[in-house]
Structures are given as C-alpha cells and as structure tokens.
C-alpha cells in the first residue's frame, strides 16, 4: 500500500499520480462490468447520457406526431385523421415535447456537464440521480404505451378543467396524463436538488460564484426554479386525480370548487417552466460563444444578473396565459408589466452575446452557427411574446396560431437550436470523437431555413383568424396556402434533425479522434480526457479565473489528498469555494432502480384503485430503507488534525 503524508490511507499526491493513480481510482470508481453495471451505475455521465438519449427519442416521437398533424393540416377539410386522434396527437406532442423532452433534456445536460465543469468526481446524490432517470423513463413509457393503445390523453398539454375532469373526460386517458406528470415531476425535482447541492458545495477550490461558467449559473437558477415551481403542478395534478378518482370537488363549480383554480396552479408552474427550458439554452449559448469567439462573454456580471432576474420575474407573470378569462382588468396591468420586464434581461443577454462576437475572433464552426440561428429566431419569438404580453393584443391572438408561432420560435429557437449546437460542441467530450463539420453545416442550414418556412406563416395564420387545436378548417378562409407551406417547412426540419442524428451516430463510431480539448475551450470539463474516466479528474483542479484552461496552458493547478481506495468527494464553501471537508460518495446499487419500479407500480395501479396508494407504500418504503441502510463494515477514518 502506498503510504502518503504520514497516513495509512492511500491518497493521490505527488507520490501517487499518472497511471498508478488512474488504476487505483479505476478500482474505486469503476462500475461492475456488463448489464449489472449498467443497471446499478451511479456515474453522473452514464446516467446523464442515457437521460439525453431517451430525451432525444422522445423528441423524435414528438416530432413524428407533429409531422402527422402537419399532414392533416396541409389541406382544408382533410379527412386523414379523426377529431379524436388529432386531439390525442397535439396533446401527446405538447406533453412529450414539454415534459418528456425539453425539461428533462436540459436537466440531463446539466447532470452530465455540471460536475465536469465544476471539477468534481460525481454529482451530489448519485443514487437519487439513478432513481430520477428510472422514474422519468417509467413515466414516458407509460404515456406512450397508453397512446399506442389508443387511450392517450386528449385534453391538451395543459388539460384545462372541467374538460379534463371526471364528467367530460371519462375513462383513464387523463389519469394517465396526470400520473405522467407525477413521474416527471419526481424525476425533475430529484435532479434539481442534486444540482443545487453539487453546484453550491462541490465546486473546485477557487471557483468562487463569480468564476462559475455561465452554464452552471443557468443550471443553478433553473434548478431553483424547478424547486419552486414544480410543486404547483404537483398539487394541481393531485387535485385533478383526486377529483377524478376519489370524488373531491376542487374544480367542480357546482360544489364550491372553481375551474380557474386549475389554471392558476398550472400556469404558476407553466410559465416558469418555459424559462426552465430557455435558461439552460442560454447557458449553452454562453459557453459556445466564449469558446468560438476566443473571448470570455462580455459583461459577465450583467449576464448573471440577467439570469437571476429572469428566474425571479418568471414567477410573477403566469396570469398572462389567462388574459381572456375575465379576471379583474386592473390586475392584468401588473402581469403585462412583469411580462414585458422580462424583455430587459433578455435584451441585455442578446446584446452581450453579440458584443462578444463583435470583440472576439469568431470561428463560425457549427456550434457558433447555431448561436447565430438562436439569436435571430429567439429575438423574433421574444418580440412576439412582448406583443402577447399586452392585454388587448393578446385578446386577439390568444389561442390562435400566432401563439403557436411564438412558442415554437422561443422553444425551438431558444432551446432546440442551442441544444443542437451544444450537442455538436460537447459531442467529443462524451465519446472522444468529433462530429462531421460538413454534414453538420448541411443540417444546420436545413433546420434553420426549414424552421422559418414552417413557423413564420403561423403568425400570419393567427392574425387571419385560425384558432389553434383545430383538427381541420374550412376551405376559403385564406388559410390554405400558409398551412401548406408550413407543412413543407416541417418536413425540412424533420429531415434536418434526422440528418443531425445520422451524423451523430456515424461520428460516434467513425468520427475523427478528438483529444482532451479539441476546440481549445476554457472550462474545466475540457481538462480531462475525452471521454472522461469514471472519476472525472485524477486530481481535483484548482481555479483562479473564469477561463482556467486559457490561463493555465502549461500545467493544470491541482490539489491532492482525496482517498483513492474509496469514493471520496471534496466539499467547498458556498461563496468562495474554499476546501471545507471530504465526504464519501455512494457506491453503485440496484436499490434506486428497485425503488423506482415499486413507485411505478404504485402510481400506475393508483389509477385503478386509491388503495394502491396505501398498499404500494410498503414496497416503496422497503426499497428506500434498503437503499439508505449502510452496507459493509463501517468505515471509520480518523481525522487528521
């Protein structure tokens, strides 16, 4: 046994480094081989990656649904799809995209990237992380199995009561929708808790809050927003389920309930949700801009303030989705003002990104091209958002294709384009190979131009009076051409995304070998090999600036002394990231998986009988106890004074 610093425990240090250290860490941090290792892993990279891949599958599925809708809408009075099927289609499209793609993929990117970017070995609660993934998967699979069996939900992605209530949606469709919410909300909250803890406590020594990469800031603000907004939809959907299954009357106006209670609770979550999707996207944009313009993002403090301000304002605007419900008009003025105020931080961010390009040495590789696409598209979507924030204008455009245009501009422009850029950018980190630049450029131009063709006409359609969520429309309203054009655009977008995926799969196996830092990027995730080892870093890096790899080109400053015979993490102080303690990190285990399966059985059977909640609690409790019960002999370590 290597004896170091006068102690009996093996630690990394000058005497244990290089290949010998790697071998020790490999043993401490490695997963079991094969399927068992896959099932029990608690490695944030493996879990993050499978989260991302699953979300991409849901993007594909949701996208295919939208293509079917677009075919139906390409011509007036089309008889292709029945009203019932169409209603399931847009409900499933919206639900899949929002709950199973956009929010999870953003959290998953953070699960993968944040520990690397802040220089730690694993996420704060790795077993919770594993649990979260299985819950998410279970919720998504349940929803889609129901859809394939033709009992998919059909009340829209925000399932307004009383349409979604027991009287007007008999059967199990809406219960399945509401339970899917429960699954994804448990998963989302779990990840948010991990992210807050990992970001606040596990940053590399010296990475003060003011030196955190902007993506990490985005992830932190997002996680806090998840924590304060998801309980709202959890409450709303529990009320809905209990109205439907055990006869409560929360939303029943005949028994002192009220339909609008649902809308308040849903949008109190629903609006923050859209920034939960957008802020990580903004984080990708910052990282990419930084790397490809060879300059730190302009006005970092303003960028951080803008993120925080957006996060706070997001909780004060939910009523802008309810301008037509006839609430007191004076109250509306407040929500108009708050919604418009969001344009200030958004405008500042847009300015700073462009200013970074202006004063940098931009290299227009694929990721930076997506930044440009993002700016163009998101600004259009944001400006139409500001129009909708005006009560009178919204009274006209609410629930029309104008709104559909708005939210695809901000969602695809503000989240999907940055994601495509981010995937291209971090692809080498995940697999050690580069994506093809040529194919990447082709799919970039297709998706960017195809998107404008698909969604710009929707603004016009909305102003020409076309409501959303109609399975068909009469000829002669002047809507035909625009709809047809939009369908063509949708297919170009789909082809582009398909091409992107083909490029990714191909490059995964045959791409050029990348090396640790192929883009010469400044942040810590590029300090380790591509793909990184299970333990991320051999030694814990030390940070003295916002761009550590640009400022330390010869050697990476590190600290030593973590145990290598056990999984150990470094904890640092919240503000200044001063080393504060060492904590063990949990080993792989199958119990999170078992717990998730037990929870799944309980949730699903609770749709059929409320007793499932009572009975199902026991296996869940058993799994959780087994999960937390310490295994093996207690490891007592004398503290070295």
């Amino acid at each position: 046994m290597t004896v170091l610093s006068g102690q009996d425990l093996p630690r990394d240090g000058e005497m244990l480094q290089g290949a010998a250290l790697a071998a020790r860490l490999e043993r401490a941090w490695g997963d079991a081989p094969g399927f068992w290792g896959w099932l029990t892993t608690t490695d944030h990279k493996r879990i993050g990656l499978r989260y991302i891949v699953t979300a991409i599958v849901f993007l594909g599925l949701g996208g295919i649904l939208s293509l079917v809708m677009r075919v139906q809408l390409a011509t007036p009075e089309s008889g292709l799809i029945s009203a019932d099927r169409y209603n399931q289609l847009f409900t499933m499209h919206g639900t899949t995209m929002m709950f199973l793609f956009a929010v999870p993929v953003m959290e998953a990117m953070a699960v993968f990237l944040v520990p690397l970017m802040i220089g730690t070995r694993n996420i704060s609660f790795p077993r919770l992380n594993a649990f979260s993934y299985w819950m998410y998967l279970a919720g998504g699979v349940m929803l889609w199995v129901a859809f394939v069996l033709n009992i998919g939900p059909d009340a829209g992605w925000f399932a307004y009561t009383p349409l979604s209530g027991p009287q007007f949606s008999p059967g199990k469709c809406v219960d399945i929708w509401a339970q899917m919410i429960t699954f994804t909300e448990v998963a989302g909250l779990a990840v948010a808790v991990e992210l807050v803890a990992v970001i606040l406590k596990q940053r590399a020594p010296g990475m003060t809050l003011a030196r955190m990469p902007l993506f990490v800031w985005g992830a932190l603000v997002t996680a806090l927003m998840v924590i304060f907004s998801l309980p709202s939809v959890a409450l709303a959907s529990s009320f809905l389920i209990s109205d439907r299954l055990v006869g409560t009357h929360f939303y029943n106006q005949y028994e002192h309930g009220d339909a609008l209670l649902w809308q308040h609770l849903f949008w109190f979550f629903g609006h923050p949700e859209v920034y939960i999707i957008f802020l990580p996207g903004a984080g990708f944009v910052s990282q990419i801009t930084e790397t490809f313009t060879r300059r730190p993002v302009f006005a970092y403090p303003a960028m951080v303030l803008a993120l925080v301000a957006t996060g706070l304002l997001a909780f004060g605007v939910w009523v802008h989705h309810m301008f037509a419900t006839g609430l007191p008009r004076m109250g509306y003025a407040f929500y108009t003002a708050a919604s418009m105020a969001v344009a200030i931080p958004a405008g500042i961010q847009i300015f700073c990104w462009i200013a970074t390009i202006w004063d940098g040495r931009p290299q227009f590789k694929v990721p930076l091209l997506y930044v440009v696409a993002f700016i163009v598209t998101f600004v259009i979507g944001g400006l139409s958002g500001v129009m909708q924030a005006s009560v009178p204008i919204d009274l006209q455009v609410h629930d029309t294709y104008f709104v559909v245009a708005h939210f695809h501009y901000v969602l695809i422009g503000g989240a999907v384009f940055p994601l495509l850029g981010a995937w291209t950018y971090w692809f080498p980190k995940a697999c050690g190979r580069m994506m093809s630049e040529g194919l990447g450029k082709i799919s970039f131009w297709m998706v960017f131009l195809g998107f404008q063709v698909a969604f710009f006409p929707m603004h016009v359609l909305g102003l020409m009076g076309m409501p959303r969520r109609v399975y068909t429309y009469p000829a002669g309203m002047g809507w035909d051409e625009m709809n047809f054009l939009s369908t063509i655009g949708a297919f170009i977008v789909a082809a582009a995304i398909l091409l992107f995926l083909v490029n990714a799969v191909n490059s995964w196996f045959r791409g050029a070998i990348a090396g640790a830092n192929p883009w010469d990027a400044p942040t810590l995730e590029w300090a380790t090999s591509s793909p990184p080892p299970q333990y991320n870093f051999e030694h814990i890096p030390v940070v003295t600036s916002r761009t550590p790899l640009w400022d330390n080109r010869a050697a990476l400053p590190v600290m030593t002394g973590l145990r290598v015979d056990d999984r150990e993490l470094l904890l640092t102080t919240v503000m200044d990231a001063k080393p504060e303690g060492r904590e063990p990190s949990p080993l792989p285990t199958v119990w999170p998986f078992a717990g998730a399966m037990a929870t799944m059985c309980m949730f699903i059977s609770s749709i059929f009988t409320p007793w499932a909640v009572v009975i199902g609690t026991f296996p869940i409790a058993a799994a959780l106890i087994a999960w937390f019960w310490p295994k093996g002999p207690p490891s007592v370590e004398p503290v070295i004074e």
Partner: protein, 337 residues
C-alpha cells in the same frame, strides 16, 4: 365529412377576411389594430437593430476569423465603446417597454368602457355548449326575450353587451373583426361589449379547446343597419306558424312526436327542450351546426339524415329517418323563417 367538404366552399366562397384581425370592423378591433401597429413598429425597430449589430459583428471579423488567439486576448472585453452602447441599449429597451406598456394600458382602458355615452344597448346572453352556441336576446320587457342559436345580429354603431356563460366546459367567444376574445367559464359569468362600426357579415369561432368538435364551433355575426336589425328582431319575436303545405305538416307531426322535440325548441309549438339549438327561425340562419354547413335544403337533409357523419361526435344522435320522413322534416324546417 365529405358532405361538409362540398357545402362549405359555397358558404365561404370569397369570404377571406371575415374572420381576421386585420380587417377590423368593431370598436375594440380597431383600437387593438392600432395598438398592434405601434407594437409592430417598435419591435420591428429593435429587430432591425439587433440584426444589424449581429451582422456588423460578423462583418467586422471576417477575414481574420481563423486567426489563432494570442493569449492576452483571453481577458473579458473592456471596450468602453461596447459598455456605453450596452447602457444606451438597456435604456432604450426600458424606455420602449414603458412606452409599449402605457400604450397597451390605455388601449385596454378604452376597451373596458362598455358604454361611454350611456346609450341603450343590445343585451345578449350567450351560452356555450359542446359544440354550439345558445343565444338569448334580452329586452327591457322580458316577455319580448327570444332565443336563437349560432348566429348574432347586431345593429351598426350600437354597443351590444354580451354575457357569456357555459353549460359544460370552457369555451371562448371570438369575433376577430369586432373584438378580442372572452372565455365562457362554467360557474362564472363574463361579458364583452361589441360595438360594430362596419356593415357586413363576419364569422366567429370558439377559441378555447373544448373537446372533440372544438374545430366546428363557429357562428355568424351579421352587422345590420338599425332598420334591418329591427326587422330581424321583429321577426324573431314572432313564434313559429303552423305549416300549411302537406309535406311540412307531416314533417311537423314527425318532429313533435319523435325524438326531435325532446331536444329542440320551436317557439309556438309544444317543442320546448333546450338540449339542442333553438330552431324557431332556423331557416333564416346562414349556416347550421355551428358553422359546419351552409344553410339550405341540401345541407339540412345531410344534417338531419346523419349528423354524426357531418360532425362526428356531436351531441345530436343519428335518428334514422326514412327518405319520406327526411323530406318531410326538412320541408317543415324550411318553413321556420
């Protein structure tokens, strides 16, 4: 569906713009249209500015884009120019937003004044049903109240107070040419004022997703001259006359003795149910089944013969009339003027 496809082009031929925000014909719609132009200009300016800056940033560095990075450049930009411009930009954004918010607020105040000059108004109670509109015109003298469906007539220039209710789920009342939309929420009563300022025929449509046939929940709005409007009201205050034509008499008997009368009302007869639209003057309407078919003998045949084929899932069942019964009933419905 096929039949609907045949009938609708007739109804709508050349009717582009009868359901459009951009052809305002009512007070609210005109005010909103103006506000929209203001927003378009301001946001347009900011769009152009942003794009110009983006393009300039791209242009400035063309040529030496592939340059390697001298290490001393890795510091954050301290350009005083950029910093000044950032402050100016933020200031401009804030000022413009204040301007837009004020413009929006004052327009909204304009919309909120139901009846500035305290003129007599038309009072209409509109109730949403899956998937049709029940309409009651109220008068000072309640005995004059009458009921109709899926069609509004409004006198030019006179404010119409529309009270909005729902019998089942949430719907939304929207006539883009006249005004913005308002939801019909069960358990609540909303209202909206329509002040039509141009003669014409407009189309409205339910804007809140309300289930299976949300797509087919439209209605017609006809803005009449006051004289025409009075004639229309006078006609609707009359109850239905008993038919004289033998076919229609047979149809009348069928209607009153079979299922029809258990759902529909025809004032002046014993049919008084309110499950379906009031049919007292159904023959005068522009369209039937909430804007799904143009009105006329053909479409009425199609509808009564097989409502589920025309508008799948709607709440009028397939009654199963034979050819004679069908002709008779439609002949009777045609007398309801």
């Amino acid at each position: 569906m096929r039949r609907a496809a045949l009938a609708l082009p007739l109804l709508l031929a050349g009717c582009e713009g009868i359901q459009a925000v951009g052809h305002p014909a009512g007070r609210d719609a005109i005010l909103i249209d103006r506000l929209f132009v203001v927003f378009e200009i301001v946001t347009g300016i900011f769009f152009v500015l942003t794009m110009a800056f983006l393009f300039a940033a791209y242009w400035r560095r063309r040529g030496h884009r592939e340059d390697g990075l001298p290490d001393d450049l890795a510091a954050p930009s301290k350009s005083p120019l950029l910093r000044t411009v950032l402050f100016m930009w933020t200031g401009a954004v804030i000022l413009s937003l204040i301007g837009l918010a004020l413009a929006s607020f004052f327009t909204d105040r304009g919309l909120a004044h139901p009846n500035p000059e305290n003129r007599p108004v038309v009072s209409i109670e509109l109730t949403g049903n899956q998937w049709w509109w029940d309409v009651v015109y109220h008068f000072q003298d309640p005995s004059k109240d009458f009921r109709t469906a899926n069609e509004l007539h409004l006198p030019l220039g006179t404010p119409a107070m529309v009270y909005l209710k729902s019998n089942d789920v949430i719907h939304s009342f929207w006539v883009p040419n006249l005004a913005g939309k308002q939801d019909l929420i069960p358990g609540r009563v909303n209202d909206i004022v329509l002040v039509p300022q141009r003669l014409g025929q407009y189309r409205g449509q339910c804007a809140e997703f309300c289930g299976l046939q949300h797509a087919h929940m439209a209605f017609d709005v006809i803005v009449d001259t006051p004289a025409d409007y009075q004639r229309w009201v006078a006609r609707h205050e009359q109850t239905a006359q008993l038919p004289t034509d033998p076919r229609a008499i047979a149809g009348y008997k069928f209607f009153m003795t079979r299922q029809c009368s258990s759902c529909h009302a025809i004032a002046g007869t014993e049919a008084g149910a309110t499950i379906g639209p009031d049919l007292t003057h159904v023959a005068t309407r522009k369209s039937i089944a909430a804007g799904t078919l143009a009105n006329g003998i053909g479409p009425l045949h199609a509808w009564v013969a097989d409502p589920q084929g025309v508008k799948p899932g709607n709440n009028m069942p397939y009654v199963g009339l034979n050819a004679d019964e069908l002709h008779n009933v439609v002949a009777y419905l045609e007398t309801l003027k």
